[in-house]
């Protein structure tokens, strides 16, 4: 009778120790990349860069549109000879096509640039993230806010990452 009781006690002890050990090993942190992009200085600089590119593309698109409108205005005057009118119509079609392609390409370029800039910022944040994780003993850092139901404030290291990123400028 005494033997099973002893075994049961040892088993409980082992299980309790294992649970404690596993709890210690799984310290999970969280960082919100969106906040890093929106709130850090480097993130805001990247957004300004993107806006600047947007304005530059917009300038080219407007110029292209003005070319289309200039040809159209010439055509509407109605003072051109038949051959001149045909030439203008061809030019109009070409200009319209160029305008259309420019709009499409500009959007593709901006999307591609946005991805590049986000990755640039996140690579810088990542070096800090890893250091903080090692210092604070995190075994895992989650970065996707969509999969987080709740996170304790102490586990969210976004502010610290932003602060350290800002300190590097």
């Amino acid at each position: 009778m005494k033997m099973p009781k002893t075994c049961l006690f040892i088993l409980c002890l082992v299980l309790a120790l294992a649970a404690t050990a596993s709890a210690q090993a799984s310290k999970v942190g969280f960082v919100n990349p969106q906040r890093i992009i929106n709130e850090s200085r480097i993130g805001r600089i990247a957004q300004d860069d993107l806006a600047r590119l947007g304005r530059e593309k917009d300038r080219r698109v407007r110029e292209s549109l003005m070319r289309v409108e200039a040809i159209k205005a010439e055509l509407e005057k109605g003072t051109l000879s038949v051959s001149e009118e045909q030439a203008r119509e061809r030019a109009l079609r070409l200009a319209a096509r160029e305008y259309e392609m420019l709009v499409e390409e500009s959007n593709a370029d901006i999307q591609s640039e946005e991805r590049q800039l986000i990755q640039f910022v996140m690579r810088r944040a990542d070096s800090i993230l890893r250091r903080i994780a090692e210092e604070a003993g995190f075994t895992m850092i989650l970065t996707d806010p969509e999969i987080i139901g709740y996170v304790a404030h102490s586990m969210d290291i976004t502010d610290r990452v932003i602060k350290e990123l800002d300190a590097m400028i």
Binding site: I45, A51, R60, R90, I110, E114, F120, R124
Partner: protein
Amino acid sequence: MHKTYLIILTALCLLLVGAATAAAFGEIRYPDRPLNLRADRSAQARWVGSLHPGQKVRVAFMKDGWVAVFEPGETRADESAAVGYSNVRYLLPKPTRVEPETWGELVYTPRKLNIRDASSINGKLVGSLEAMERVKVDFPEGDWVMVFRESATIRSQMNALGYCAATYFEPVTAGASGTQAAQPAEDPGASGGAEVRGAAVTPPAVQAPPVPQPAAAAQSPAPESVAITDASGDWGKVVTLQREVSLWRDRTSGSTQVRTLKAGERVRVDFLKGGWYAVFEEGEVLRSENRALGYALRALVDGEGGDADAPQASPAPASPEPASSAQTRPEPARPESARPEPARPEPARPEPVQPEKTAAASGGERQTLVMDRSRFSGAKRPDPTPDKNAHGYQYRLLEKSETKKYGVTWITLKVFLSTTKLPDSNQLKDFSTTLWNEHRRAMRNLVVHIYLPGMDTDDISYGVVSFDDKAMLELWVRQVALFGTKFL
């Protein structure tokens, strides 16, 4: 008798094992980012080509952290068959990110053609192409182009067979089937070329992209092809998936995964671009890219079992290369159709650009961010040493390459500018214009990427100045690229 069989069987086994061993030298790797190929085992060695993220390559002969890169199907375990060298730390055993990029143009020659080792008639003869033989061409140099095997997958100058005069090539279009182009016609000089050209100007069932409509332009920055189809819903193609296929938010596996389609599901695909299809519900009647469920890799969708119920909307020949250039180039041959309506753009606020509304700033959109952890693993490299002078600046030309984008050939110059003071826009413009004058070529655009001291020259540049063959097009700077330098 049994002994004889046994000996033959053993010999066969040994042969098979030998053949397998010969084919399987080195190992298969995948770059985790766009990766440069060099002529030697050094970052300073001449640039010879590049790999796209997720591209399958064979690597071998590792030395000092650098490996020789081969075509994945290469069987010659010989360094002379290498197509370039790359740092092994960017080549992973499994693909982490796939962003296929088309390169070169699939062409054929209606006549027998010499291949030379230099872009000149004085170049040494290194081989020849048979009439109607298909090859891939890239790296144009004046009137000459580098020629590659049709099956070449790696864009590297070291992968080329040699140089041929570009004038003797005809593009392989959707209309020219494999047999048409491969088999000499009875009168190759006339019918072969003429048929192909004829097909090129009348693309099958491609809907003319709409001229920007005022209202649409104001609402959505990207004008997309929106057209109500006929009653049969005859656009794109309907495929039955042969395997599980992931759909992504954008044409890159670096974007968010939006859905997984199961094997056996039927979907409609269209808008093939960069190796990615836009995927729609099978019954979708509106041909509009913004109604797509997501994007899927063409290789997964087409697979072995894609049954095409409807004709393809995008002319996609056996290889995607020629299609891209043919589709994106302006086609002045088309205007006979409906007269385009550029007359309407008056109120069009073309606003292609709304960076404030982009995902980075919106805050609400879910994103997948790929963190490149290897970037910080090594110590920072020293700045390159300038070796030239222009416009009062000492600089070094780090890289010069040519590539096609939106059907236009771009010359790319990567330049390190040795300066202690941040150059302003005018100075960048003047300096870049000097380079442009030196490197400009007819019918080619040129872009100068400018790096300053302290910057990582493998990362994004500070200044980007682009030109066409007549004038400057754009100039802008990335302040963020100065992070970690004394300029910020």
